[in-house]
């Protein structure tokens, strides 16, 4: 599959505009293989980016490559090595899952016999076993999502684009879908680019995140780096809380009061030592000390709010 250190997506100044509406605004990306989350509010440019990377639409400006292939001139070759699971309903009703996934395998270049065998195997791995001989219109939403996933990976792509794969699924189905996606990435080695507005899904599955807003890349990096240093240490004391907060601030800590509890920004692990030493110096008893981690949702809200603050007058999608 993909080399561990070679970026699967590289773009320089990638811009897509529809008339005066800028859908993607000069994206510079270098995305490593793995499980990549594509986050952003509606109209942020996620779908446009996927279509560009699949070579389905041409960029207005800039260049980009997927798996080392140019998106402007090698779209067919890119699509040979990638899979795509759209967000919307996209399955014909009066065909069996086995027939349809087999047909999609043939459309991706597999010979007829290999396509049939492969469809059966992949449907089984996606949790559609005996049901594969039933018409798709008889399937539940969860089963349809599995069939959509199966058609996306039936030709064994190096990279698969998943657009809202847990959309409309019940909690149990969602769990299983996330588990499937995890296996595709971790055990099978297919790079997954997961576009979702469910931040919890992205946090569970992905190890790298791209955050788009109004066509701009507002944040990117590994999930661990985005979450690191962003949480708070909640400190409860017996004694003068105001004096204690003042002393901490004087020693360089960022302190706020939340619901009667001191929240010290967890920028590094030495903050714990700072709290302990300050308590000792002021002769204050520490009653409680717990870490409140930052979630991807916190990062998302902060970044989108910060990005929305600036307006350069350019009309953007969304």
């Amino acid at each position: 599959m993909t080399q561990p250190d070679t970026p699967i997506v590289v773009s320089r100044g990638l811009l897509k505009a529809y008339g005066s509406v800028v859908a993607l605004d000069r994206l510079d990306l270098e995305v490593p293989p793995g499980a990549i989350g594509l986050l952003g509010p509606n109209g942020a440019g996620k779908s446009t980016l996927i279509k560009l990377l699949l070579g389905l639409i041409k960029p207005t400006e800039g260049v980009a490559s997927v798996l080392g292939l140019d998106i402007a001139s090698e779209g067919v070759q890119i699509r040979q090595r990638t899979g795509y699971m759209p967000e919307s309903d996209c399955l014909p009703g009066d065909v069996t899952a086995a027939d349809f996934v087999g047909h999609m395998a043939q459309m991706s270049g597999l010979p007829a016999r290999a396509a049939r065998l492969r469809a059966a195997e992949v449907l089984y791995h996606c949790g559609v076993d005996e049901e594969r001989y039933r018409l798709i219109k008889e399937f539940s939403t969860g089963m349809k999502q599995r069939v959509k996933l199966a058609q996306a990976i039936v030709h064994d792509p190096a990279l698969v684009f998943l657009d809202e794969p847990t959309n409309g699924m019940d909690p149990a189905g969602r769990e299983e879908m996330l588990e499937l996606i995890n296996r595709i990435h971790r055990e099978v080695g297919i790079t997954v680019l997961l576009s979702s507005h469910i931040l919890e899904d992205v946090e569970r599955v992905c190890d790298y995140v791209l955050l788009l807003d109004q066509g701009r890349l507002v944040q990117h990096g590994t999930v661990s780096s985005l979450l690191a240093g962003g949480g708070d240490i909640l400190v409860e004391i017996d004694g003068d809380r105001a004096a204690f907060a003042e002393a901490l601030a004087a020693r360089g800590a960022v302190v706020t009061t939340q619901d009667g509890v001191l929240a010290v920004r967890h920028t590094e692990d030495q903050v714990f030592d700072l709290v302990r030493d300050t308590a000792a110096d002021l002769d204050v008893a520490l009653r409680g000390l717990r870490v409140r981690s930052q979630s991807l949702e916190d990062v998302y809200v902060q970044q989108v709010a910060a990005a929305s603050g600036g307006n350069d007058g350019v009309e953007r999608a969304g």
């Binding site: 996209c90 047909h103 492969r118 030709h155």
Partner: protein, 308 residues
């Protein structure tokens, strides 16, 4: 234990007939074909769906009716000629290629009205296009497969019955080899006529189907458009006078197939002569066919380029 099959570490299940092993996900190591293979696969898939293969029985009614209507008469006539030799010559004269092709022409119109929407409307209504366009084909490849699928289906009705008649004529002739020597161009004319009619009807049917997701609407629009357009042109040609009046016949979409049939297969055809009932020479109608197919191709291409 997960309900997702194929988890690593799945234990073999021992039983009286042996053990079942979960081999886990296997990467595909086999041969990978190119775009031509995908176009062929889509063509065959589209043909099967239009014929109602693996669909409910109601989807098979129209294809069965049309094939019966196209083949039963020619097989019956040949059978009667073979069994009742006294009427063979008269039947052969009356039931010739031109007669058969003219009789089949309305069937082609109905077939195109029924099959063209099957080719395109379902893909749009069920939103399957994003899946096709995310495969290793271009939009032109997609359209090519659809045109090929409909063209081959139409050809099976436009050409095969005539070929059956040709085989019958040859076998029922007093001297089959002499008959073959005396009719060297028949097969060529049958193939050309059938191909022109198939492509012509298919192009108009597909371009109309490209603009709606509802099959019934597409079929009604198709038949309505051909019928009304032909009526309007004929009424116009009656109402006007002048040398250019004859050229209106080139725009009569419903009559062009009959002109082609008469020109290529009819008894009055020949270099420098007009088809029976036509004001212009036969080859001029080729331009109409070429123009219609070209315009339909360009319109469909633009329509599908705009498809997201």
């Amino acid at each position: 234990m997960s309900s997702v099959p194929g988890d690593a570490g799945s234990a073999p299940a021992a039983g009286p007939y042996g053990e079942i092993f979960d081999r886990g996900y296997q990467h595909y190591q086999g041969r990978r074909e190119g775009r031509a293979h995908a176009v062929r696969a889509l063509t065959l898939y589209s043909m099967r769906r239009a014929l109602g293969v693996k669909k409910r029985w109601t989807a098979k009614i129209i294809p069965i009716f049309l094939y019966a209507a196209a083949f039963v008469p020619v097989v019956t006539i040949i059978g009667v000629r073979a069994l009742v030799t006294q009427v063979s010559a008269q039947l052969a004269e009356g039931f010739n290629y031109s007669f058969l092709a003219a009789a089949i022409s309305p069937l082609l119109l109905i077939y195109a009205a029924a099959a063209a929407p099957e080719m395109l409307c379902d893909d749009r209504r069920e939103n399957v296009l994003p899946l096709y366009f995310s495969r290793a084909i271009t939009r032109v490849d997609y359209l090519l497969a659809k045109v090929l699928a409909l063209g081959l289906l139409m050809g099976s009705i436009a050409i095969v019955p005539l070929l059956v008649l040709f085989v019958g004529n040859t076998l029922l002739a007093d001297a089959p080899l002499t008959y073959l020597r005396q009719h060297p161009g028949d097969i060529g004319r049958i193939l050309i006529t059938g191909t022109l009619l198939s492509v012509y009807y298919a192009a108009i049917g597909l371009v109309i189907a490209a603009f709606t997701a509802r099959k019934g609407v597409a079929a009604a629009l198709y038949i309505g458009f051909i019928t009304i357009e032909t009526g309007v042109v004929e009424a116009l040609s009656l109402a006007v006078s002048g040398a250019w009046k004859d050229y209106l016949d080139l725009f009569s979409l419903g009559n062009v197939p009959d002109r082609i049939v008469q020109w290529l297969l009819g008894p009055a055809s020949g270099a420098g002569s007009a088809p029976v009932g036509a004001p212009l020479q036969g080859w001029t109608y080729l331009f109409t066919v070429a123009a219609v197919v070209t315009v339909c191709g360009v319109v469909m291409h633009r329509r599908y380029l705009a498809e997201e």
